[in-house]
């Protein structure tokens, strides 16, 4: 067991972790942040995506000890008051999801992508999200949600109302 300190959603969290423990399991089991979902444990489905130092990361492929000293953002950290951030609101307005299991991964992947590519079009958004699997929706509603969020961000606060 190793004591590690990770900045998670803006706060320093210290816990001890076995070397083999994945970041996903550490977040879920040790920090009770169960919004990060584990879908395949081999880095294909993207459900466990979190943001580490500003970049999207598969938390099933990263060990908790590798996150020591880094900044991790999970779905719980997007709107700290427990509400929804602008991307999440746009996804709600677009009926983006159904069962919701893949949702946190898509939200984190899209959050990281939009912050780097605020002007992205549909083609780029589809490619950016092609490492996340949703089995319910056929993706169109998810893409529409991301496009709506991008459009609203460009229009500014209240811009599309």
């Amino acid at each position: 067991m190793t004591d590690i300190t990770v900045r998670v959603n803006g706060a320093a969290r210290t816990a001890s972790a076995e070397a083999r423990k994945t970041l996903a399991d550490f977040l879920r089991d040790d920090l009770d942040l169960t919004g990060t979902h584990v879908g395949c444990e081999h880095g294909v489905c993207g459900a466990c995506t979190v943001i580490v130092d500003g970049r999207p990361v598969r938390s099933c492929l990263m060990l908790a000890v590798q996150a020591a000293g880094h900044e991790v953002t999970t779905i719980e950290g997007l709107a700290p008051d427990g509400g929804l951030g602008p991307l999440q609101e746009a996804m709600r307005d677009s009926h983006s999801f159904q069962c919701g299991f893949c949702t946190p991964g898509f939200v984190m992947q899209a959050t990281a992508f939009l912050s780097a590519h605020p002007d992205a079009g549909e083609r780029e958004i589809r490619e950016a999200l092609s490492g996340n699997i949703c089995r319910c929706t056929g993706y169109q509603s998810i893409i529409d949600g991301v496009l709506l969020a991008a459009q609203r961000a460009k229009a500014g606060p209240g811009g599309d109302q």
Binding site: E18, R20, K21, R28, D32, L33, T34, G35, T36, H37, V38, G39, C40, E41, H42, V44, C45, A47, T74, I75, E76, L78, A79, G82, G83, L84, Q88, M91, R92, D93, H95, F97, Q98, C99, G100, F101, C102, T103, P104, V107, I125, R126, E127, L129, S130, G131, N132, I133, C134, R135, C136, T137, G138, Y139, Q140, S141, I142, I143
Partner: protein
């Protein structure tokens, strides 16, 4: 008819009540359940497809620190009740029920067959323990195909059955089959295969079982489509009274037919919790999910079609073989529905049908979205094959054969009335949307330039719920129940046995109830997922729109009448003059008379009025007049004949699922089903090698469609033919998955028509497309 308020929730794309928690990461899925003192289970699984278990040595695992217990098949056999799988009893429809233990004791019958369960302080330690369990096996010859299973000399998968043929080879005839075939201008014969593929919800199976030795109650947190069916399975297997088992469920991360009842692993975990007196959690990992959770669709069909030279499909004669895998649960039900649905919306006058179900050393055949979908695949494929032979356009042959909408209704030759079917309208509509003649011109031009475009049409109907039989009798889906209560805070609570896993019932049922009862949407609460609280029910078979939508409407009406009777005493008016609007009871035309429904509930509860203090009703609904769901889809594809890659240029669906409750939710169901159908054709296959080793156990091997493969899907809703006075919502959960595969395969064959390619299968990855082209090209270039 219902009184319709000017502003209605029903029919509007109301934002989902589920979304604030789901989008915030605050959903509660099975792996999010944590109980004090909870242990973790992992399974020791067979590396062989077929073998005898000679010895299991768990001593090393038992002495590993952190391992609390190892229960072998023999240990579990001593504390559970052997018997036919409760689901087979429900869905087997006459297939032989094999005898087997909960976990393997004498034999293993597929790769991944559970042999022992290790229970430890963490999942990591439980998996460490699994590696220390030594199992001695003796190889038995694996039976890995239906053809092998049909050989009387094949080694029986279940010794107790003595044969690998478990389902009846029973022939039914509808109409004059011999006469129809004798009189036909031509008889065409085809062998059509549908490949094995599978559900793959993003959340696998799992459960947390917690036995309380004090009360003797076993509480099981489950990922299930029905808390009651799961409870029944657990109580039966553990030899407990159903009342001693409570099943709870929260958010479910998809299912598509997988999570019905209680699986062998879940039963073993429940038994382990009871044996240990501690909570035990098991969460299926993806490898387990792909290997052993269940697979679907592996079927083959020998089809004879009687046809006139003009393109009238006069009759079909079909012989079907279904590979139900090991531990069969759906043995006879799927062929039974396929037989019933094979005529579809067409006026064919004769059908001969026989089916054979076999067991093999592969994962169990389970329900997957539209389990009987192959009837549509076979029929719509055959129509295109016939059209090509006769030089007819696919639209033309369909319009020629669709039964007219008459009164009294035309009957399917298998006995159901085609009441209110809008197949003709949907076919004509999709052809119009894509401008079929213009496409044919473009197709010809592009072919001349070496680009191969194709168009595919297919149509389906689904008994969701199906029309009431003209001779009367109950609806086809039985009864749906609901309890509804108005509480003193004014909240209208619906208790439903539906167990949503993506269908958004907490939104849609609240829409209907809010409209019918007269309260704001936010004032309706939908309670699901507690077998002690909700009535019996199951989410599946596209039943909830009609059945649960209907019981919500009628139940809300019933409760409203009860509330108005009480309000009449308070307001001193006749209940007939009262209505509920926006959560207020008012005398019609006198807004000043308003009293909140909460006040009515408080007054009733006070006991001062001498009325039933509980404003609660139990309602049930039999489906009313019912009706068909259905629609036609059209795909335009381009096939790259150098790489075999298929690109979907356009996908259009014209759907009739009756009155829409929430259009955005309906369209999500349609698109999701289509995406699974596209995956089935272009990517997904549950592959085994000849020794029964599973070849698709990761997402690198079992390929799912991503945002780059699924195109924008255009959906148009047709005006429906209402059959019922109140309830014309119809199921829409399965249609996309039922009709997308033939739509896409028909388009691919059309694109490859210049090469003379004929397609008799469903799985068409690039390598297979290239094989088909090579096979038919015979060294020559395409005919122009």
């Amino acid at each position: 008819m219902t009184q319709i308020a000017a502003e209605r929730y029903t029919g509007a794309s109301v934002k989902r009540s589920e979304d604030p928690r789901i989008l915030a990461g605050a959903g509660r899925y099975i792996d999010d359940v944590k109980l004090p003192g909870m242990l973790h289970a992992a399974f020791v699984r067979s590396p062989l497809a077929h073998g005898r278990v000679l010895a299991v040595d768990a001593s090393a695992a038992r002495s590993l620190p952190g391992v609390v217990a190892v229960l072998t098949g023999t240990d579990l056999d001593a504390i559970t009740v052997r018997g036919p799988d409760p689901l087979l009893a429900m869905m087997g429809a006459g297939a032989s029920a094999p005898d087997y233990s909960l976990l393997a004791t004498d034999a293993v019958r597929l790769v991944g067959d559970p042999v022992a369960v290790v229970v430890a302080e963490s999942r990591y330690l439980a998996e460490d323990g699994c590696e220390l369990v030594e199992v001695d096996y003796e190889d038995l010859p694996p039976v890995t195909s239906a053809v092998a299973a049909l050989d009387p000399g094949s080694h029986p998968v279940f010794a107790s059955l003595g044969s690998n043929v478990i389902g009846p080879r029973k022939r039914d005839e509808f109409g004059d089959v011999a006469g129809t075939f004798a009189a036909a201008d031509r008889i065409a014969e085809f062998h059509i295969d549908v490949h094995r593929h599978q559900n793959v919800p993003m959340e696998g199976r799992g459960c947390v079982a917690s036995y309380d030795p004090g009360s003797g109650v076993l509480t099981v947190h489950a990922a299930t489509q029905s808390v009651h069916v799961t409870r029944m399975g657990i109580a039966t297997c553990l030899g407990m009274e159903p009342g001693q088992v409570r099943v709870l469920a929260g958010d479910i991360g998809g299912s598509f037919g997988l999570k019905i009842g209680a699986s062998r692993e879940e039963l073993a975990v429940a038994a382990a919790s009871r044996a240990l007196g501690r909570p035990v959690k098991w969460i299926e990992d993806r490898s387990e999910n792909l290997t052993v959770s269940g697979q679907a669709r592996e079927e083959s069909f020998d089809v004879r079609a009687a046809v006139s030279d003009d393109g009238d499909l006069l009759g079909l004669d079909v012989s079907m073989v279904i590979d139900t895998g090991a531990y069969p649960v759906m043995g006879g039900m799927v062929p039974m529905i396929i037989e019933m649905m094979l005529p579809g919306p067409y006026k064919m006058a004769a059908l001969g049908f026989e089916s054979t179900a076999v067991t093999t050393n592969k994962a169990s055949y389970i329900a997957y979205r539209g389990p009987w979908a192959s009837e549509t695949f076979v029929r719509e494929r055959v129509l295109d094959l016939l059209a090509r032979d006769l030089g007819l356009d696919p639209l033309e042959i369909r319009l020629r054969n669709v039964a007219p909408r008459t009164s009294p209704p035309a009957m399917m030759i298998t006995g159901r009335p085609l009441t209110g079917v809008t197949t003709r309208e949907s076919l004509e509509r999709v052809a119009q949307i894509v401008d079929l003649p213009a496409f044919r011109r473009r197709q010809a031009q592009e072919r001349a330039r070496g680009r191969y475009l194709g168009i595919g049409l297919a149509t389906f109907i689904e008994a969701a719920p199906g029309p009431r039989a003209p001779q009367g009798g109950g609806g086809l889906m039985g009864l749906e129940s609901m309890r509804l209560r108005l509480s003193e805070d004014g909240i209208l609570t619906l208790f439903t046995g539906q167990m949503p896993h993506g269908q958004s019932h907490q939104t849609t049922l609240a829409q209907i109830a809010a409209d019918e009862f007269g309260v704001p949407f936010e004032q309706v609460r939908v309670v699901v997922g507690d077998s002690d609280v909700v009535p019996f029910g199951l989410t599946g078979g596209s039943r909830s729109a009609t059945m649960t939508g209907g019981v919500t409407l009628h139940g809300a009406r019933q409760l409203k009448a009860k509330v108005l009777d009480v309000a009449a005493l308070l307001i001193e008016a006749s209940a007939r003059d009262l209505e509920i609007t926006d959560g207020q009871v008012i005398v019609r035309g006198d807004p000043d008379s308003a009293i909140p429904v909460a006040e009515v509930a408080r007054q009733a509860a006070s006991g001062q009025l001498g009325v039933d203090p509980g404003l609660e009703v139990e309602a049930s609904f039999d489906g009313g007049e019912g009706g068909w769901s259905g629609g036609s889809h059209c795909a335009i594809v381009e096939v790259d004949v150098e790489t075999g890659i298929v690109t979907i240029e356009r996908y259009v669906a014209a759907e009739d699922c009756g009155a829409l409750i929430n259009p955005a939710i309906v369209e999500g169901q349609i698109r999701g089903g289509i995406a699974q159908g596209i995956g089935a054709v272009l990517l997904e296959r549950s592959a085994y090698d000849q020794d029964g080793n599973y070849q698709s156990a990761t997402f690198m091997d079992y390929l799912l469609p991503t945002a780059c493969e699924i195109p924008r899907i255009e959906i148009e809703h047709l005006e429906t033919v209402p059959l019922d006075a109140d309830v014309n919502f119809r199921g829409v959960g399965e249609g996309g998955m039922i009709v997308a595969p033939p739509t896409l395969v028909n388009a691919i064959e059309d694109a490859l028509a210049p090469f003379g390619v004929r397609i008799y299968e469903q799985h068409l990855p690039p390598a297979r497309i290239l094989e088909l082209i090579a096979k038919h090209a015979e060294g020559e270039g395409p005919a122009s």
